[in-house]
Every structure is written in structure tokens, then in C-alpha cells.
Amino acid sequence: MSAEEMGRVSDRMRRVLAVFTLIFLGVLAISPIKDFRREWKQYKRSYVKYAQTRPDTKKLLADYRPDIDQVWIPGMNVVDRCTTCHQGIMQPSLSGSSVPQPYRAHPPIPHNVRDWGCTICHRGQGAATEVAEAHESTLAWEQPILPAKFIQASCGTCHYSDLPQTPQLTRGRQLLSELNCQGCHKLPGIERSAMLGPDLTSVGTKVSREWIYKWLKEPRTIVDKDGNTVVNGYETEDEPRMPKFRLEETQLRALSAYLSVQRAHPITPYKFDPRVLAAWSKNPELVSQGELRFKQMFCSTCHSLAVTRAGETKLIGGDIGPELTKVGSKVNPDWLVAWLRDPQGYLPHTRMSRYGWSDEDLYKVTQYIATKLTDSDLLTTVPQLGAPTEQEIDLGKRLFQEKGCASCHSIGGLNPQKDFGPDLSALGAKNASELEFGKSAIPHNLVAYVQAKLQDPASVNPAARMPQYSWNQADLDAVTTALLSMKGAPATGALQNLVVPKKEAAFHPAGSFGEVYERYKCYTCHKFNGVGGDLAPDLTYEGSRAQRQWIVDFLKNPQTLRPTLVLRMPQFNMSDKDASILADYMSVALQHPDANPASTDAKGFTSARVALGKQLYEVKYQCQACHTIGGTGGYVGPNLNNAGNWLTPAWIEAWLRDPQALVPGTIEPRRQFTDEEIKSLTAYLLTLRAGIKPQKSAVARPSSSSSASAAGAGR
């Protein structure tokens, strides 16, 4: 090889070497470039750029570091790097939807991000540094971000007691309780109501086999003009308590046979006073008088009727008791009389009061129900069932237990099965891989599963025993929220310490008050010490608020105090004795510690004070914006026409000092009255007295209110 050749070779080698050197350098550079281009670093840099476009750049970048930021709370298992990209979370100036994500500030909530981290509420993978891994479900992490719509579920994970800020969660928990989900499922913290489905021990005396068949096939009775069965009501947004079971023809026959022979307590027809029958049975006014009485007694406070106006059918009335549009074609007339006389004799846990009926009223109202609230076509679609056979009854009894009927309905001799449905106490923490999606095409995540299962249980599991409910969207989301909040026992001791337990409410009045309270079922509408319904005012401190004589008069002849509310308190035909038992107990036992009768000095209420109070009421504070006196004024608060006979001086003073201390959440704002002003206003209000007679309201009421049919009789 000549030198020239050697030179050419080494020349080529040099070139190859150069190329390889460049490649080597290039490969070396990949790693730093990759690091530079990391997703979170890009967000960090663009935050700096964004901050520079804002007027308060310096403040926004005060604690900026180019590294990963994290919130580390060892006791709570929190390692959240979310603030690496979500850098503006703590910057109030970045609030508002005009600020692009991920830089927007967190809305103000009672918890600080530094003390709680992010994943405690939002879920997702806190330690991840990539957008997809942090937010979504991955193979290694199946707890994706909780959609904002259901975020209240996270509040419920620690707050077992209801919060005013989480109406959706509260509604969901209420639905779980009302629909008696805990009859089949284990749901911690959800109250199991005393009244489940009706006791069916004597259901054969109440309804016919044909009606049972129809009810089991389609437990909703109102049908719209196109013949479609619709959810129990158009305007009301309530879920029917009885869900639809997917039953076959033989099952319907068997169950209806079994139930129709349940006659543990036979009915003896009630003998009306012959004079009443003589006077009324031929009277053409009988039915219309019965209807009038039905309205006057405020049955519509709890029961609704379908009313067709201008071609549109609506349910009008309350939803505490069942809808009654076709009840005359449903129940046995003898049973109806026995029921109205003593509902608690048939169903011990019923929420219906025992009214003091006169024979005349009872006859008129039952005749009205039996003739007017009927539908001759109600049972036309039901096949001829004939007398139940032994075989059908046996099969029916077996089905009653297999289908889980016994979880809600009791029948003498049959016990509900324990743990009939799956335990849902940790449903909200389930991974998608633990759920059964069957052949359904829904996205494989927990939220989609829960919603599909609630809407149509068979869509994810054709063999599901769970019946079908009909939800509106808001209720479906509310129940989903409540279920997602159930994440089982807290994972760490620190989290366990954060749990806010549910307040246990209890009110067990004994003695003669307890007896009357049970007879009239006061708690169906009123709350006492946290127990009871919320249709009517909370009576926990009624003894502090109202004067004893006023309570007696009101019970004997209820009338509305709040002009915006339609009176819904039924006429119980209460005896003097019952009224004074209730009033005595309230004045002694239902007292608020802040309203101290000894602190008021009635002698101080001079006429000068009264004049000053009137001045304050009318000019300085303009209370007439919300309260009515003598027909003029606003109708937000109760009218004060009769305040002097109604309210106690101690209550007025305590109320003016701090209304929310007496009734949490009440609308009247707390003012800064001086002690002198409080005394004067009290003195003035105590001079307002009116005779007990029906008031006239100057205001026309809209006819669409839910108890319109009852409104006429209220005033």
C-alpha cells in the first residue's frame, strides 16, 4: 500500500469517525432535551409567560420554583404534585373563568390546599407528573379524577353529618333512605326508616288479586293521554317508592295469589249511625259535600290527585302519602272506613294521623272517595285470574323471598333475609376492574357503572335481582353522589380523626303527650329536636316561642301565619283535652335556653317605648318590607297582626338579638339592634293583637301552587 493510498484510507476513517462523533453527541443530547421537554416543565415555563402578561407578575412569581412542587402530608397518605402544573391555585387574582387552566385559582372553600392536598377531594393520582396519568384511569391507577358534578361525594367521605353547602349529597342520602335502599344493601350512615313498604300481613282485606297483579306489573297508576305509563307525576319530581320488578306472567300470577290470601286480621264492616245514613244516603249533595270535606280536612297536604287543566294532567298535592286519583277502584270500601278510623290499627308505622271523625264526615268522605276517585278501566288489562290455587300460593311465597320483597314488606311469619344485596359501604372506592360491566357499551369507570346500574340494573348484569327505578337526571346524580361518598373506613388514623360524625337525633316523648303525639303523628310534618319531617315549622322550641293559649287556639283551629305559604295543617277535630296536653308539654319541655322569660321586664313596656318601637319598625328598620301588619307590608316573614297574643316577650327579644341562634338558617338577617331598640320593638310588637278569626290576605295567590286545591279553605 502506498503512502498515498494510506492517506486516502485514513482520510476516509477520519470522516467516518467525525460522523460517528456527531451521532454520539446527538444521542447524548437526547436525554437533556427529553428532560427539557417534559410535560410539567412546559407548564412551568408557560406559567411564567402567562404571569408576565398579568399586572401582578411579581406576586404571581413570588414563590415560583422551576422544580416539581408537592404537598406532602404523611398521616393522610397525601403526596400531591398537582400544584406543579396548577400553579395559580393559591392566587386569588387568578380566579374566574377567563383564566386558562391549569393556572386558575381554586374557588374559596373551607379547606386549605396546603393542609389537605388535592386528591383527598378530587381523587386521581397525586404523585403522577403527567397529565394523563394524574387525571385518568391507568393500568396501575384506577382512581381517576372525580367529575366536578359529583365532587360533593368527597365532602361526604368525612362529613357524615349533612352540610348546608352540599345539597346534592344531602338529597342523595335522603333518597337512599326514602327508597329504603338499606333494606337490601349495607349503607352505613343511612337511616333505615321505621316505615318501609307497607306491612302486607292483611293485604288481602284491602285490595283484590287483580289489583295486586296490575301493581306488580306496573307500579305506577297515572297514564298520560298517549297511553304511556309515566312516572308518578308530571310536575312533582318524586321517585315512586315501589320500583318495577321484571316479573314474568307465572310470577305475577303466583305473587298475586299468595298476597291475596293474606288476611291475618279480618275486617268487620263499621256500622254507621242509622240517623246519618237516613239523612245522607239519598241526598244528591252527598258526593259534593264529601269532596268539600276532603278539601277542608287538608287531605291534599299529604296526598295528591291528578287534575287535568287545559289538556294537561298534573298531580296536585303532597307526596307524604300515596297518590289517590284512582284509590276508589283500588281498595275495599269496608277497609277504607276501617283505615280512616284508625290507620295505626292496620299499619302500626304509618305516618297518617288518627283524625277525630264524626260519623257524618266519615260517611261523606268515604262515599266521595268510592264514587269519584275511581277509574272503571283500571283493571281492564288484567286477565281473568280466578281463585288462587295451592300451587300458585306456594310458588308466590317462595318468590316473595327470592325477589327480596321481604326486605321492605313484612308478612307475619316471614323474616327478611340478611344481606340480601351487595354491601355498598365501600362502593365509592372500587376500582373499575372490580366491577362487572357485562355486555354494556358504557365507559369502564365507576361513575358510568353506578349510573347505568341505577337506571337499568339489567344493562350491566342481566341476572340482577335489583328492581328498576325511574329517576330524573337530578335525582340520579344525587344518588350517584351519595354512593360515591361511601369509601369505607378511612385508610389512616389521621383521616379517621377528621371524620365529622352524624348527629344522632332523638325525641322519645312519653306519657300523655307521647300518646297524643303518636296519634296525630306530629312528626310527619314537624321536626322535634331533629326528628321528623320538614314540611312544617320546626317545633323544637315552640314552648319558648308561642304563648300557651295561642297554641291551644291554633290546634283547635289552625290558620296560616306566613302569607306566602298555603296553609297545610289539617283540621284534626282535636278535643280540648288533647289540645291542652300538647300545649302544656310544649310550654314546659320545648324551651330554648336563650329565651329566658325572667329576663324580660313587662313593666318596662311603657307607651313611650311602644311609640319608639313603632317608629323603629316603620322608619328606621322598615320591617314592613317583609312583615305584614293589618293588611299592608311584605309577605316574606310571618304576619304580625296577632304577635301580642302569639309570641312570648322572651322569644321576641332573643329573636331580635340573633335569629339564627334560635332557628339556624332562618331568613331574617341578624341586625345590630341596641338593647334599647330591642326593648322598644318588643314592647311595640306585644301591642299587636287581633281576634282569632280567619285572616284576609290582600295578595292573590297563583293557582299553580302545589296545594292549590287546599288554598281556598285555608283563609
Binding site: S93, Q101, E136, A448, P669
Partner: protein
């Protein structure tokens, strides 16, 4: 042949290296995107839904508990107290009146009441009943449902910015 291989080598080396640079960019599911927290039907057009954020939703709750009685044409109980009052209270969605008022002004009138701001004494003060955050949330709700729509001031207000 050999030369061709040497030339191809860098490409063969670089390709796998580049492979490592590619990001797995999975689309973020719609559920992950912060969907609206709640919504409110537009007061002048019930078909249109206004999406609400967290703070606006809290404001909606407070509004329907305390304010709806006088600042809307219908209340949960049916009629509204608005027509009873003189001067007639502003409807909460009336942007033609409220858009011109700053957040600070609204915060003050809710906290201190009408008489403190030279307006009707029929508007009571809520400063001792609601927290400042709750009042702020009501203002956020007001802005969300305003008709005509509310435009926030271009720059956050500063005492130094030219008037």
C-alpha cells in the same frame, strides 16, 4: 455494500433513540374535563342553561335561601315579595343595573344594608348573617346570570391604575 451499511448505521441508531422522545398522548376523557358544577336556567329564556362554577353554585344556594324573596319574580313558595316594595328591588339578573356596579359596591350593600349606602332601608344588612365568602359567592352568581352578560373590567382594579 459495506459502505452502504456504514451510511445507514447512524439512521438505524437515531430511529430508536427518537422513539423514546415520543409522548404517549392519550386524549383526556370528557369526564375528566371539569364539567360544570351546576347550572341555572337563564331567567329570560328557560331553555338556555347557564353553567355555574363552584363559587357561583354556592351563591345560587345562598340566593335561593335569603335573597329570592325580593330579588326575583317568583319564590320557592310561589309569589314574590318584589311587587310589594317601593322602590322595587332590582332583579338579580338585571345586568343593565348591576353590571355597572363594582364587586366592592355590591359586597358593601349586602354587608351593610341599603340605608348605609344611601339606598332603601328595606334592604337589610346581611353582614352578621352571611360570611364574606358567602356574599362574594352571591355576587359571582349575579355576574353569571346577568342579562345583558357581565363583562369584568379589563384589568383587575388597582389603586394605582389610571382612572
Amino acid at each position: 455494500m459495506k459502505r452502504q451499511f456504514i451510511r445507514a448505521l447512524p439512521i438505524l441508531l437515531i430511529l430508536p433513540a427518537l422513539q423514546g422522545c415520543r409522548k404517549s398522548q392519550a386524549p383526556i376523557a370528557a369526564t375528566v374535563q371539569a364539567a360544570s358544577y351546576d347550572s341555572e336556567a337563564d331567567w329570560s329564556d328557560s331553555q338556555k342553561l347557564v353553567p355555574l362554577g363552584y363559587q357561583e353554585t354556592q351563591g345560587k344556594r345562598v340566593f335561593y335561601q335569603y335573597c329570592v324573596w325580593c330579588h326575583a319574580d317568583a319564590s320557592p313558595a310561589g309569589p314574590s315579595n318584589r311587587s310589594n316594595l317601593t322602590p322595587v328591588p332590582t332583579l338579580l339578573n338585571d345586568g343593565s343595573v348591576l353590571n355597572a356596579q363594582s364587586d366592592e359596591y355590591l359586597q358593601n350593600i349586602i354587608t351593610l344594608g341599603g340605608s348605609a349606602m344611601g339606598k332603601s332601608a328595606m334592604m337589610p344588612p346581611y353582614g352578621k348573617t352571611l360570611t364574606p365568602d358567602e356574599i362574594r359567592s352571591v355576587i359571582a352568581f349575579t355576574r353569571a346570570i346577568a342579562q345583558p352578560p357581565y363583562q369584568p373590567p379589563a384589568r383587575p382594579g388597582s389603586q394605582y391604575s389610571p382612572k
